[in-house]
Structure formats: C-alpha cells, structure tokens
C-alpha cells in the first residue's frame, strides 16, 4: 500500500437522473459531497468502488475522486470535482439550484 495515498470518495451519476452522487459510510448514495465517506487507504477505496460499480441499477460511471477532510465532511480537491458539487457556472442549474430549492422546502 502506498504511504502517500490521497484520500478518496466514491462518486458516480444517478442512473435515471444523471445527478452526481457520493457513496456514504452506510453504503447509500447522497447528493452531497460532505456526506460522502472519505476512504483513507487504497484497499478500502478500491473495495468500495467495486461494490459501488456493482450497484448498476442505481448509479452509472462510478469512480474514485481525490478529496480531503473538511469541517463539514469531505471536500473536493480538484476543480472538476468542485464543479460537480455545484452544477454549471453559466446557469443556476443542477445541484446549486436543486439543493437551494430543497432547503427552502425543509
């Protein structure tokens, strides 16, 4: 096992909606990066990816993305993953809008 393993989250897209999802500790999928489980060693990350990829009735295109611990759960490291937590920058579409709407309802 590599000593300098960058922690990872398992992310994918929802099979039906396409929305970005993250694997949580309980093995369920969340829309929120902060609720993802942060894997700090390579073996458990790979095992989680394999089990996630097997959930092909729920998600599509699962992969491991670099992440780091933050005050409200894991945070993305790369800008691509940051964009995936929000949605496009040209319109308030995708997560940034969906989550805001969900908060209003709650």
């Amino acid at each position: 096992m590599s000593r300098s393993f960058t922690p990872k989250v398992v992310t994918a897209n929802d099979l039906r909606l396409g929305d970005v999802v993250y694997l949580t500790q309980s093995g369920k999928w969340s829309r929120l990066h902060g609720e993802a489980h942060l894997f700090t060693d390579e073996d458990s990350a790979n095992a989680a990816l394999a089990s996630a990829a097997a959930q092909s009735l729920v998600v599509v295109g699962a992969y491991l993305a670099d992440a780091k611990a933050g005050p409200h759960g894991p945070e993305p490291v790369h800008f691509r993953e940051l964009f995936r937590t929000r949605g496009p920058s040209n319109y308030a579409h995708g997560k940034q809008a969906d989550l805001a709407a969900a908060q209003k309802v709650a």
Binding site: N13, G18, R80, F83
Partner: protein, 556 residues
C-alpha cells in the same frame, strides 16, 4: 425541404422502439452499463458531468419551423427550457433524464429528426454551409448532396465500425463557411473548364489533438461520382486506419502516415471498383432529392421600407451592417440571428426564442431556418422590406444582438460546465470576454475577428482555426489557457500557432485586451483586419503584447 420517405420514417421509428426497449432493459437490470453504453451512444445519449446529454442531428443545419417548435417543446418539457446549438450543426440537450429519452426520440421522430450517428465511429451528421441555397457567391446549393450522403451513410453496414468518427462537410460556395479543410472529407463545389459543377475533394483534415488541414485528392469530381468516390475514401480508410491507437485512428493520421499521394492513388484505384458497383439508383434518388430543395417562390417587391429604416434607425442600421449577408436574389437578404448576446452562453436558445424564430421563418422567411457551425441561427431568405419587422420581433425576444463576425461572436464548446472530457471551462471565458469588450466599446473598432474557445484538446470549439484560439487546460490542478494566433477556417485555412505559455483563468481577458490593443496600434488602417495584420507582421509584436513586453508599442 426534404421530407422523410416511408423508408426513412420506418427506419427512425424502428430505432426509437429498439432504444425504448434497450432503456427498459437497462433500467430493469437485463442490460449492464457496459452493454448499454454503446447502444445509448449510437442514439446520441452521452453521460456528462451533471447529467445525461442528448445530441440531436440537424442535417446540413436545416430546420423547418415545425421542427424548431418541436425542439422548443422538448427543451421546455424534458430539459431546463433551452438547447445548445453546436459547431457540428447539432443541438444538445443538457438535462434529459434517462427514462424520458425514448419519449424525446419519439417526439423528434414526429418531426423527422433523430439522434442516430451523432456519436460513435461512424459517418456523423453531414454539415453544410449555413447559407446554402441563399448565398450570393454560391455555385450550387450543396444540400441535395449532403442529403444524398446522409441517406447513403445512415446505417451503412460497412461503415458502422470505422477506426474512428468520420465527419463530412460540404459547401457550394467559393467562400468556405463550412470549414471543409478541417474535416475528414471536405467537399467544395467548383466548376470545370466546361462550366459543369462538381466537387473538389479534400481528405484528411481534422482538429483535436493533432490538428491538420486536409489534402486535395481530387480537383474535380463529377457530381454523378460523389457516392462511389466517398465510398472509396471510406473504404481505404476502413482498411488502413489505426485501430490500434485511438489517438492515431482518425483519417488525418492515415493520410499523414501514408502520404497524400499514396492515399490518392489508393482511393482512385478503389474508386474504379466502387463506381462499377453503383448502378444509377443513386442518381435517380438524387433527382428526387433535388426536387425537395427547389428554391422558394421569391417575391418581387420594393425595398423602400428597408431603405427608410436603414436611414433613420441607428440601432437597425448597426444590426443590418453586421447581421445581414448578400442574398443571391435581388431584394432579399440573409439574416444571421446572433445567439451570442453579450454575457450569455454562446449557442444557447430558450424554448421561447426557438418559437419566435420558427414564427419569423414562417411569416417572413419562406419557412426555412439554419443552424450555423458558428452557433447562430440563420433566416436564409428574408425580403428586405420585411427586415424592420423581423428586427423588431428579434429585439423583443433578446435576439437582436448586432455582433456577427465581431469579437463577441465567439464559438465556445460546453467545456467543464458540462463536458466530462473537459480540462477547463470555456463558457465563462467567452461570457467575460464578450462583456468586457462591450464595456470597452471596442468590438466595432476591432472589426471582423474569429475568436474560438475549446475546453480541452479535442477542439470541439474549433480553437485551432480561430484568428484567436483559446484552449483550456488543466495545469497541475489549475485552469490554464493557451492562446493560439493566426488560425483560419475559411478558404484560406490555417492552423493557429501556439504563442507561448498559457494564462490563468483571470488573466485571459486582460491578455486578449493587450493583444487587441496592440493590433489597433499596429494596423495600417481601419480596414486591415486582425488576421491580415497578423499575416503581415507575424507573431512577434502580438507575442510581445500578450506577454506584456510590448511597451515599445506605445512609443511607436
């Protein structure tokens, strides 16, 4: 306009039914994603960053008002109220849900449209000059030939698994608005010494990671030989193409590695065989197709209303000066409707805007609409007397931006706002550039210029053939933008040169401003365009301006 035959209709409907079954089997688990992926791609359905994306072909860029309204309906019902028109004369819907896609494809089939062969290693949507059938400089309307190619390539059994994707572009005019030299096959209509029209055949162009301009393999191809000749090209490529390496699999590499002369020889040799196999059915078909592209019943009316508005209304005049092009028929004009309002996303149109365009085409435009590879919409046949009314309606719909051919008429690919292959964003770079130069009020002074932005090396935004090209890259986890200069997608095609190190996201606009201010200083007169000044002076003074070592310019 061409209408589907019973065969086309049956084919498309069958495909929709097949795909509906495939989606159902994916959702119930009978198909794995691995099995499903090639099937969805064959039907234009991609998975992007935030959602699925459906790419719908607009063959040779031509749409009827009814089709445009259906695209609006799809945008409003199944998407977020808009669609994105692309450089390949497609429309992309960025938010479809997988279970809805069969219904969307059904709605497309209702108006004789589909998403077939908009992905995969097959012959893609054949693109054409968006002024086809209208341009003053045109030899012949190229669309009947594009339609012939579409029918021939659709589900062609020999060409469904080519080494790589295959793109054909066609123009009927000497002024190349279809970027024929950057396509796998480019077809330019020319006349021979006997005055007959035919094609100059260009093979092996392409952008992407190894940009190349195509080579002329045939100076003059008689019209009747079009299909057997194109088939010969594809057949040679199908045999030689590098299936071992995706990055070397396009025909441009085949031509480069084999040599243009040898490819030409092989194509001509194969052509002897293919031509013998065509029994004339294609020519009978072509005759029918031609009839469908007969010119509309142009009217003869006076243009006083136009002349008066042009004289008295400054905003109208500004729009007319940039957004109108010469029509082949006296009294008519070609209207380019800008989808580049400053600060908006290049190429996006809302459902409501699509309906306005459909209505205008119906009322004033002989029911014809085009999508340009420059991500604008064209009303190809408008009588000049109707232009003031058209302008007023466009203005009310936010569609009257007077910037065609100017700096803010930017091509930008979806980049990292949507595309899963992107290495950086392109849309916000375009938005900021447009807003910035508008605020400076410089773009009319700068004059004609092509600025094109891609969000990765695949070059969907044609940056290599932009006078200014911007390529978004990921440099150690940070967005970085490489600038190329001197590219050209027209009949004087050229691949732009990389000028130096890239710029950070927030340095791009200032860099472009320095570059263009240098141009304003350096040009001989207002009529010398950026590209001409660049050609005269070479990269050095522009490089100095970009990298801030151009102080001597101010002194000059």
């Amino acid at each position: 306009m061409y209408s589907y035959s019973d065969f086309d209709e049956g084919f498309v409907r069958t495909r929709v039914a097949q795909f509906a079954g495939q989606v159902a089997r994916r959702l119930d688990g009978s198909l794995t994603e691995e099995e499903f992926r090639p099937l969805r791609l064959m039907n234009g359905l991609y998975l992007q960053l935030h959602a699925y994306m459906l790419r719908v072909a607009i063959p040779y860029g031509t749409l009827s008002p009814r089709q445009m309204r259906q695209l609006a309906m799809i945008a409003d019902t199944y998407d977020k109220g808009y669609g994105h028109f692309t450089t390949r004369q497609n429309i992309q819907f960025n938010w479809p849900k997988l279970p809805d896609v069969p219904a969307i494809l059904g709605a497309l089939a209702d108006v004789e449209m589909h998403a077939i062969q908009t992905s995969g290693n097959c012959v893609r949507n054949v693109t054409a000059d968006h002024f086809a059938g209208a341009a003053a400089d045109e030899i012949e309307d190229p669309r009947p030939y594009a339609e012939l190619l579409r029918q021939w390539s659709m589900d062609h059994p020999e060409f469904q698994f080519l080494p790589r994707k295959f793109k054909i572009a066609i123009t009927g005019s000497p002024h190349d608005r279809a970027v024929t030299r950057a396509h796998d096959i480019g077809l330019r209509m020319v006349r021979n010494s006997a005055g007959e029209s035919g094609f100059e055949v260009i093979v092996g162009g392409g952008l992407g990671r190894t940009p190349m301009l195509g080579h002329v393999v045939r100076q003059f191809l008689p019209i009747a030989d079009l299909l057997p000749y194109v088939e010969a090209v594809l057949s040679v490529y199908n045999t030689l193409g590098r299936r071992d390496n995706k990055y070397k699999a396009r025909i441009k590499i085949t031509v480069h590695e084999t040599g243009a002369a040898e490819i030409t020889r092989m194509v001509e040799e194969r052509f002897v065989e293919t031509r013998a196999q065509f029994g004339g059915a294609d020519q009978a078909l072509l005759a029918d197709i031609r009839a469908a592209f007969a010119p509309p019943a142009f009217r003869n009316a006076d243009t006083a209303a136009y002349d008066a508005a042009y004289r008295t209304d400054g905003a109208f005049r500004a729009w007319a000066d940039t957004n109108l092009s010469a029509h082949r028929v006296d009294g008519y004009a070609i209207v380019t409707v800008s989808l580049k309002a400053h600060g908006d996303t290049p190429g996006d149109a809302t459902g409501a805007q699509m309906r306005v365009l459909a209505d205008l085409a119906e009322t004033y435009g002989h029911s014809d609409l085009r999508i340009s590879h420059e991500q604008n919409v064209i009303l190809p046949h408008v009588h000049k007397s109707d232009l003031p009314a058209v302008y007023a309606a466009l203005k009310a719909a936010g569609l009257a931006t007077a910037n065609i051919g100017l700096l803010s008429d930017i091509i930008a690919c979806p980049g990292m706002d949507y595309c899963s292959l992107a290495t950086a964003r392109s849309i916000p770079v375009a938005q900021e550039l447009a807003l910035h130069f508008k605020a400076l009020d410089l773009e009319h002074d700068i004059g004609p210029i092509k600025l094109k932005i891609s969000g990765c090396i695949n070059a969907c935004g044609h940056h290599h053939v932009g006078h200014i090209g911007i390529l978004g890259l990921d440099r150690a986890g940070v967005e970085n933008y490489q600038i190329t200069l001197g590219g050209d997608g027209s009949e004087t095609a050229a691949i732009g040169e990389k000028i130096g190190p890239g710029f950070a996201y927030d340095e791009v606009t200032p860099a472009i401003e320095r570059l263009l201010r240098a141009y304003l200083e350096l040009r001989l007169e207002a009529g010398e365009s950026f590209i001409n000044a660049y050609r005269r002076l070479g990269p050095a003074p522009f490089k100095a301006a970009l990298y801030g070592t151009g102080d001597h310019l101010d002194a000059a």
